[in-house]
């Protein structure tokens, strides 16, 4: 089983976002970067499938700056066999060129399965994996919360509003991982040592610009200071009154 996992380097969820001097991107100074949390589920799933097949190889691919090597090393430490960095300085906001660059690499890899995270927690596009599947002309299921693979076929479940969709597909396929798909492992010390020796290939790539030009990145206006209506159950009538006459939501 040949499996690929696509990884993105993103700011830690706890990070306070400051806008950079250009007014169009974040100020990365002092920001801690991590492997996108949803991509951890993707890595874990790939490793479990390889383990249960008993043979195979898992390749991690990231498109980004040189610093994304660190992100790939995290996956190598978890147990991924090798990494590929598609090196580029800046990523566009439009996810389509990102999908194209990844598809160009993935298309020649002869993978049985390609895993992505459901969404990257920086740009929140929720799109790259599905775009890649379309470009490669192979099946895909997005936001997969449960997965079974057997005999070249798969069944996936994805949450929709008020239910769970059950989807069947054949391999090769693209799957994007939802939280809860599995429990991602932590890299063990041995894994971290071994990761340093695993192959990590670096390939420069040129990205298309895409069709979204960022005019501004801004911090949303702080919510106007609210007020404490009161303490305990006695405050309830005042709350209901405020919701009716001031906020007009009931």
């Amino acid at each position: 089983m040949k499996i690929a996992v696509c990884l993105k380097r993103v700011p830690d969820t706890e990070t306070r976002i400051k806008i950079g001097a250009d007014g169009r991107s974040i100020d990365e100074d002092g920001v801690k970067f991590i492997l996108n949390p949803y991509d951890e589920y993707a890595v874990e799933q790939a490793l479990q499938l390889k383990d249960s097949a008993g043979t195979g190889e898992v390749t991690a691919i990231s498109l980004g700056s040189s610093a994304s090597q660190e992100t790939i090393r995290t996956a190598l430490a978890m147990g991924v066999d090798r990494g590929i960095l598609l090196e580029t300085d800046a990523l566009p906001l439009d996810p389509v060129p990102i999908g194209k660059a990844l598809a160009a690499e993935l298309g020649s890899g002869d993978y049985d399965l390609i895993f992505f995270g459901k969404v990257a927690i920086d740009d929140y596009s929720h799109a790259v994996g599905t775009i890649v599947s379309e470009l490669l002309g192979i099946p895909s299921v997005s936001a997969v919360g449960r997965l079974e693979i057997a005999d070249g076929k798969g069944t996936a479940e994805r949450e929709i509003e008020g239910g769970v969709e059950v989807v069947e597909f054949s391999l090769p396929a693209v799957l994007t991982a939802e939280k809860g798909l599995n429990e991602p492992r932590y890299p063990a010390l041995r894994g971290i040592m071994m990761a340093k020796k695993k192959p990590l290939e670096i390939k420069p790539v040129e990205l298309e610009e895409g069709g979204l030009s960022v005019v501004e990145l801004s911090v949303p206006p702080a919510r106007p200071a609210g007020r404490i209506v009161g303490e305990g159950a006695d405050a309830v009538p005042a709350l209901v009154e405020a919701l009716r006459t001031e906020a007009k939501v009931i």
Binding site: I121, H126, T130, E161, G162, V166, E216, G232, A247
Partner: protein
């Protein structure tokens, strides 16, 4: 290139509420660009598309097939892209629902056109400019669309439906039957008919302050008192197995923007706020007056939720009853 295609969503023959939001966004953009709005509804036979004119559709196309009671990505993609290729569209607008989040990238990839997701505002006064949150809602992009057509998914509850009556002509067409690479075989619906947190206009969420799963009855009763409210949860209680993951609000759960969000016994961790900070009105009920949830709440009540929530339920019943 000035028309707008609104791709609408239906379930079991009935249009979803969010479809009116999509039409409202499409109408406003088409007016700014000087074009018309085509509404597209894909589903099994018997979908009720009357009334779309009221929200601003100039034309309605129903693409039907009895096999299409469920979302089939390959069919939907083919229908939408064929219509775009045959028309003169500046934008394709759909809702950023589970279906829309899956369909939008497929359409954008096949048409090789830009994709803007989870958009909260669209300005068509000088070209097309979109506003969309990023970084868990901690920052907002304003971006100009530099190539058309473009695919835009709009965040549920971000556009208030407004009526804008037209005489809409309705045309019905059979659906194509491409090979299904990805086949949706069924939808398992949980028992109980409660709205999903991402769709409801009122969400009552509970956190660890409820002490145990059995006490979620208090939250459910309050939601019921409002009539049409959804029940949400913090990750702490989802991880503890008290509530299903489908209910989780936050960075690794759902993003919601209801009219009213009530946080009961939730501390307001940054990852929870990521999922609900764009709610119109936020109410917090928490015994700790220093908990961060009060920093984003419009109205707060400090105290024991076990006393406050039942009283609130009672008062809401009174208000709605009379």
């Amino acid at each position: 290139m000035s028309n707008v295609l609104a791709v609408l969503e239906q379930r079991a023959g009935a249009l979803k509420q969010v479809s009116h939001e999509v039409l409202t966004a499409a109408r406003a953009l088409a007016d700014a660009l000087g074009g018309s709005v085509d509404a597209l509804v894909i589903g099994s036979t018997g979908v009720d598309a009357t009334g779309l004119g009221a929200y601003g559709a100039d034309r309605v196309t129903l693409v039907e097939d009895e096999e299409l009671s469920l979302y089939q990505p390959d069919v939907f993609n083919e229908v939408v892209t064929a219509q775009v290729r045959a028309g003169d569209y500046a934008a394709i607008i759909l809702a950023a629902t589970a279906m829309g989040k899956d369909l939008a990238p497929r359409v954008a990839a096949r048409l090789d056109c830009p994709l803007a997701v989870d958009v909260t505002a669209i300005d068509g006064s000088g070209g097309i400019t979109v506003t969309r949150p990023a970084y868990s809602g901690k920052a907002i992009y304003t971006a100009e669309v530099t190539a058309t057509p473009c695919v835009i998914s709009v965040r549920p509850n971000a556009f208030t439906p407004s009526e804008n009556a037209r005489e809409a002509a309705v045309e019905t067409r059979p659906a194509p039957r491409p090979d299904l690479r990805t086949r949706t075989v069924r939808v398992n619906e949980p028992a109980g008919e409660r709205l999903d947190v991402a769709e409801a206009s009122i969400v009552v969420s509970g956190g660890r302050g409820l002490k145990g799963p059995e006490n979620f009855k208090l939250v459910e009763d309050l939601a019921d008192a409002f009539g049409n409210a959804a029940v949400g949860a913090s990750r702490a209680v989802v991880d503890a197995g008290w509530r299903p993951h489908a209910d989780q609000v936050g960075q690794t759960g759902k993003t919601v923007s209801p009219q009213l969000y009530i946080a009961v016994g939730i501390s307001g961790a940054i990852q929870h706020l990521a999922g609900m900070r764009t709610s119109k009105v936020i109410v917090a009920i928490n015994k700790d007056k220093d908990s961060p949830i009060f920093k984003v709440a419009d109205y707060g009540v400090v105290g024991d939720l076990f006393e406050i929530v039942p009283r609130l339920t009672e008062e809401i019943r009174k208000v709605r009853g009379g």
